[in-house]
Amino acid sequence: MENTFKKKKTFKKFLLGERGESGFVGKFFIYLLLIGISFIFMYPILKMISKSFMGLEDLMDPTVIWIPTRFVFGNYQKASEVLNFWKSLGDSLKVGILPTLCAVISSSLIGYGFAHFEFPGKKIWMALLVGIFLLPTMLMSIPTYVIFQKFHMLGSLKAYIYPALTGFGLRQSVFILIFYQFFKVIPHELSESAEIDGASEVGIFVRIAIPMSVPAFIICILYSFVWYWNETVLATTYFQGNITTLQMALSSFEHMYSQLFPSGSIGIGSAAESFNQGVLFAGTMLTILPLLLLYAFTQKWFVESADRSGIAGE
């Protein structure tokens, strides 16, 4: 009798769990939810991968949903030709890396200035910093363009680098605020004792603040790199055709494709040559593949160090 009662109890514990710990039913639903939401986030990538390997027949065939009947690798070859892949990749890396370095260096300095010092007018400057983040991008785009023209910054990387160096790069207020939050939690005793030992302000910044805020640097580098990498509207207006990043090449993909592979020729070959989603998605995969690789390598710091990143504030 007692035995069956015990069994019943352990079974109930297994299903519903005890205080504070969820049992089988709870866990089942949580995993269901996790997998469902993961599917939503993975869906575009999975769909693009599957379609990028499909030939025209598979794309037209409504019974083929995920796995192509015949894997076509020609899509990637064509797409890389249309994108002018290696040259565009070089440009993209340049556009991603240089402004990011400038932005991260300047934001860390500015964030440190705001976090570590008390000075008159600090609140006004902080309010301006947030206020500028709130301004609609539409409002600023044309006047900024005119200013860049005046300083002869258009048509080269200068249009990205100079604003990034002075804290006005792409959404740079966010980085400044992240660094601000981060440097604020560094205990004052540390910097004070360093000061007593005769360290200068720059010395404290380089030797104490930077080593203690590596996660913030990683997060800002990743965000900044991704944002610069994916930006197309600003890039096309600022670079004026002198620099073509992967994303810019992608936005004019169809046009370039029709130039490289004219579908004028008649016959069976022309149908296979014509523009289709398979090639387009292969091109898209090529443009976001470097980002996914970067994410795969940095996500460990990114996900685990979230608790030390300081965006949480204190």
Binding site: F41, L109, G113, P136, M138, T144, T232
Partner: protein
């Protein structure tokens, strides 16, 4: 599989080695070099002489203030160079009677764009509300849109963060997947996905579901539900960064408080409202601001109208900047209202 694992392990070790070298380099060499360089410059430009003099005469507080201004000096330079003029100009344009751009050919044959602004008043705003009911409608619908989406994004990101905060097997993989939107949600990629039907999982919007719902409910309600389903996926995509921020906040929480509360007999619901929610308060404010700004600037009714009206042939930049300031106003109103609501809610539970 093992080989692959070993391979990645090797890469990881290699990267770690490089990182150690780099960090050592920064800590030892670079700091010394920067110091030496600064000393060198100081010695030969007389700055160090001035500095020595000022060190004797100026109080510590003033020194700190000056150092602070030197650190944020970069930002002030940027503000003066890149931001001050556009802001002032757009205010001036929005409050002008007319403004136009003309291409002026300089003496050396180079052309440049110049503005001509005249008059002062609220005629642009008058024009919006008097002559263009379409634009007023766009403003109202955008306000409603943002006001609906912002709290939904907050709620969803909070739920996702609570999910990811649980200690489960394989949670790290899910965390990695859940932050994919951070990478893909920028530039034109979201609009691109949307235009190729990659965002809406097709079953959610299938006619079958619609038919099933229409059997039980009136048509308008069905439309709303289908709309919300479509929006939910968009909202999930928008809540990547916010989830990260909330998760960071949750991970800072102290477990001891929860244990104490559970000993005192508090249930999970009470624990959430009395412990978790108050600690997340400052983060909620950050997320409200971030969500509003990002959502207001990515493809809604008003931004579409602004980009239409900005062309000189239609209404021109004076009118468009007045509209942009309306968008700014919408952002401020939404942020203010929600921050206030959450503040009041928080006070109630204190």
């Amino acid at each position: 599989m093992k080989k692959i694992k070993a391979f990645f392990q090797k890469i990881g070790d290699f990267l770690k080695k490089i990182w150690i070298i780099i960090s050592e380099f920064i800590r030892c060499k670079l700091a010394v070099w920067i110091g030496k360089g600064l000393k060198f410059i100081g010695k030969y430009t007389g700055i160090s002489w001035l500095a020595a003099k000022y060190r004797k005469n100026v109080s510590n507080k003033h020194k700190k203030a000056i150092a602070g201004y030197l650190f944020i000096g970069l930002w002030i330079i940027g503000f003066v160079l890149f931001a001050a003029r556009p802001v002032v100009q757009s205010i001036r344009m929005a409050t002008s009677d007319y403004a136009e751009t003309r291409v002026v050919v300089g003496e050396e044959g180079d052309s440049s764009v110049k503005f001509f602004i005249g008059g002062f008043g609220i005629s642009q705003f008058k024009q919006i509300f008097k002559d263009n009911p379409d634009d007023v409608e766009a403003i109202v619908s955008t306000l409603v849109d943002i006001a609906v989406v912002v709290p939904l994004v907050l709620i969803f990101s909070l739920l996702l963060a609570l999910l990811l905060h649980r200690k489960l097997k394989g949670i790290k993989i899910f965390r990695m997947i859940f932050f994919i939107p951070v990478i893909l949600l920028s530039g034109n990629l979201l609009g691109y996905f949307n235009s190729y039907d990659l965002l809406t999982v097709s079953t959610l919007q299938s006619s079958e579901l619609q038919g099933m719902l229409a059997f039980y409910l009136p048509e308008e309600v069905v439309d709303v539900i289908i709309n919300v389903f479509g929006k939910i996926i968009l909202i999930l995509w928008f809540s990547g960064v916010q989830t990260l921020v909330f998760l960071a906040g949750l991970q800072k929480d102290n477990n001891a408080i929860y244990e104490a509360a559970s000993i005192d007999g508090a249930n999970k619901w009470e624990m959430f409202w009395k412990i978790t929610f108050p600690t997340l308060m400052p983060l909620i404010n950050i997320n409200i601001i971030y969500t509003t700004v990002i959502y207001a600037n990515t493809g809604n009714e008003l931004t579409r109208i602004i980009s239409e009206r900005i062309a000189p042939a239609t209404y021109g930049r004076d009118y468009a900047s007045a509209l942009s300031w309306m968008l700014f106003g919408i952002e401020i109103v939404v942020i203010f209202v929600y921050v206030l609501i959450f503040k009041l809610a928080n006070r109630k539970y204190k």
